[in-house]
């Protein structure tokens, strides 16, 4: 499903260059639940952003479903993200002026293969699944951190993306809420066969991952499956 070859990402920092990724090769199969782990500054988020087409590599190739991402135009990348990928961010990243239900159905509203009836039904179904249907008309600021992150997950999966990317989704949550979120990811992965790529630095999260990619200094140092 995802294949990356000799991926390099170099950030210029004044007169010096920082190698965020230094020759990463990786393959991710459909329906896998992958954890990317490693210490701070190891390149976890950079790798996730490359895989999620949120950033472009300095050198190297990324193929998703056989498509060379480097050959896509800006607009094609946007549409690729809309139709194929879903994202969950560390700080939830919900639109503060939209209600819970508006936030969830926002990406679906833009898709031409979804009618209003379909995306309204999908939003209702997901919010019922995650136990937030009763709070559908609330604004993000009226929810707890755990609830906001569940809304962010709902938004990410409303379009049934091929791959779900999560960048430290539990970083701002307590253990109870973190477990709730991770259980939700596990359920989605098992029940719908959703491919999930998640960045984490919490050791206890690894019990949820099928495979773990460990990074250090921009290189994969260990793969555990």
């Amino acid at each position: 499903m995802i294949r990356i070859e000799d991926l390099h990402k170099i950030y210029p920092m004044g007169d010096v260059e920082v190698k965020a990724l230094d020759g990463v090769d990786l393959e991710i199969a459909k329906e896998e639940f992958i954890g990317i782990m490693g210490p701070s500054g190891s390149g976890k988020t950079t790798l996730l952003h490359m895989l999620g087409i949120l950033d472009h590599p300095t050198t190297g190739k990324i193929r998703i479903d056989g498509i060379d991402i480097g050959t896509l135009t800006d607009y094609e990348k946007t549409m690729f993200r809309l139709y194929k990928l879903g994202y969950v961010f560390q700080d939830y990243a919900l639109v503060p002026d939209l209600t819970v239900s508006e936030n969830v159905c926002l990406p679906a509203m833009l898709r031409y293969d979804r009618t209003a009836t379909e995306y309204i039904a999908a939003t209702r179904g997901i919010l019922q699944d995650i136990g937030l249907w009763e709070r559908k008309d609330h604004l993000p600021r009226e929810l707890s951190g755990g609830q906001q992150q569940r809304v962010a997950i709902a938004r990410a999966i409303v379009n049934h993306p091929d791959i779900l990317f999560a960048d430290e989704p539990c970083a701002n949550l307590d253990t109870e809420n973190s477990r709730m979120v991770l259980n939700l990811f596990k359920k989605i992965n098992e029940e719908t066969g959703q491919t999930i790529v998640m960045v984490s630095h919490e050791d206890w999260h690894k019990e949820y991952f099928e495979r773990i990619i460990r990074l250090r200094d921009g290189k994969i140092v260990k793969e555990m499956g």
């Binding site: 139709y83 990243a93 503060p96 990406p107 509203m109 833009l110």
Partner: protein, 404 residues
């Protein structure tokens, strides 16, 4: 850019305005409305002044068409035949002659130089609403002799001392008082003041009216001549039509419509008004553009991370650009509507309390065309001001936006 994208952009912009900072939204709408009011107020006032002057010139000076002597001639001669000819022409309500003679008025120890204007009172009623402006006494009758009607400015106010007067007057003449008129030809006679009028038109209020019969006594002969003839058009007939008819019927005198006269006499004033209007318009547009530019720039800069997130989840940059563009359009529309309301209230107030000067009185004169034109100009400026920062921020790299 399809319907779905526009729908999402509109939803995002609407929600941002509904649930964002209300004070900022209200302040922006208020500023746009004040700019709109500023754009439309001065031209409206100048138009009001122009309309007021035009109406007074038509009512008390030249009517719809003015006939003056041929170049080189002092008077229109063969007056009876000329009036008969004009009054029989299609489209002419009535033609009436005027004959003015310089004179000195004496009342007590006051002396005042004025023009005494001779009219045919019954004909004048068709042409001028002078008879409706009597504030004391009565209007003249055709056969009246030894009687005059005088303007309020000529009569004066007895409560104002002579040295405090804005313009010289007879110091408080009342109906029934006798004043002495000494004409330029040496003829002197006492006249009883039959009425006092106030038209609000300075030129007219500084005049004394007598009948043609009285002026014949002054001149010592039957008057078959006039300084000028004013012609009132029947409803539905244009001034141009009357002018063309007069010329085609062989009226050899100088024939001019009100528009001809105003373009000559007020052309320069109207040009000055146009320049002031243009300056006012440009200043208002600049203020609106800058305000909306700043508002949207601040909004976009403070939402950079959110914009990055939206792009990350698959929202196209054009949708993001239109989100801010629509916000500006909505703010501008509400600002313009509030501006129209404020201007209408001002117009209503000024129709009750017009700006009055010794020369004219004016209220706000607004036409739907003025309102629509200014609204579109302001909306155009607002769109430019909103879309530039939105376009700049929307094309920013996702990583750069998300890291901000």
């Amino acid at each position: 850019m399809g319907k779905k994208e526009l729908k999402v952009a509109f939803l995002l912009s609407l929600r941002s305005l509904q649930r964002g900072s209300r004070s900022s939204t209200l302040m922006t709408v208020l500023i746009v409305s004040l700019c709109f009011t500023n754009m439309i107020f001065l031209p409206g006032l100048f138009n009001g002044i122009g309309q007021s002057i035009t109406k007074q010139v038509v009512d008390y000076e030249v009517s719809n068409v003015l006939i003056t002597p041929r170049p080189g001639d002092q008077y229109i001669t063969d007056l009876s035949a000329t009036l008969d000819l004009i009054n029989r022409m299609p489209g002419v309500e009535r033609a009436t002659p005027h004959y003015t003679k310089a004179a000195t008025l004496k009342y007590g120890d006051r002396m005042l130089g004025v023009g005494v204007r001779a009219i045919v009172p019954s004909d004048e009623k068709y042409v001028s609403p002078l008879y409706t402006t009597m504030i004391a006494g009565n209007y003249l009758g055709d056969g009246d002799t030894g009687e005059v009607i005088i303007g309020k400015s000529v009569a004066g106010d007895p409560s104002i001392r002579q040295e405090d007067e804005f313009q010289p007057s007879l110091g408080g003449v009342r109906v029934g008082d006798s004043i002495t008129i000494e004409y330029g030809n040496g003829y002197i006679s006492d006249y009883q003041v039959k009425g006092i009028y106030a038209t609000g038109w300075s030129e007219s209020d500084n005049t004394v009216y007598v009948t043609m019969s009285d002026m014949e006594i002054v001149e010592g002969k039957v008057l078959d001549r006039a300084d000028y003839i004013t012609v009132k058009a029947k409803p539905g007939y244009s001034e141009k039509f009357i002018k063309d008819e007069l010329q085609s019927y062989g009226v050899a005198e100088e024939v001019q419509t009100t528009a001809d006269l105003l373009s000559k006499s007020m052309g320069r004033a109207l040009q000055s008004f146009a320049i002031i209007n243009m300056v006012s318009l440009i200043v208002s547009i600049i203020i609106t553009t800058v305000v909306l530019f700043v508002v949207i720039t601040i909004k976009t800069l403070s939402s950079r991370k959110q914009i990055g997130i939206l792009k990350a989840i698959g929202v196209d940059k054009e949708v993001i650009m239109h989100t801010y563009g629509f916000q500006v359009i909505i703010l501008a529309i509400f600002g313009i509507l509030l501006g129209i309301l404020m201007t209408s209230l001002l117009a209503l107030y000024m129709s009750v309390n017009p700006v009055v000067t010794p020369e004219w009185s004016a209220s706000l004169y607004l036409t739907p065309r003025d309102i629509i034109t200014n609204s579109l100009i302001l909306l155009g400026a607002a769109i430019v001001a909103g879309y530039i920062p939105a376009w700049r921020i929307a094309r920013e790299d996702i990583q750069k936006s998300m890291r901000s």
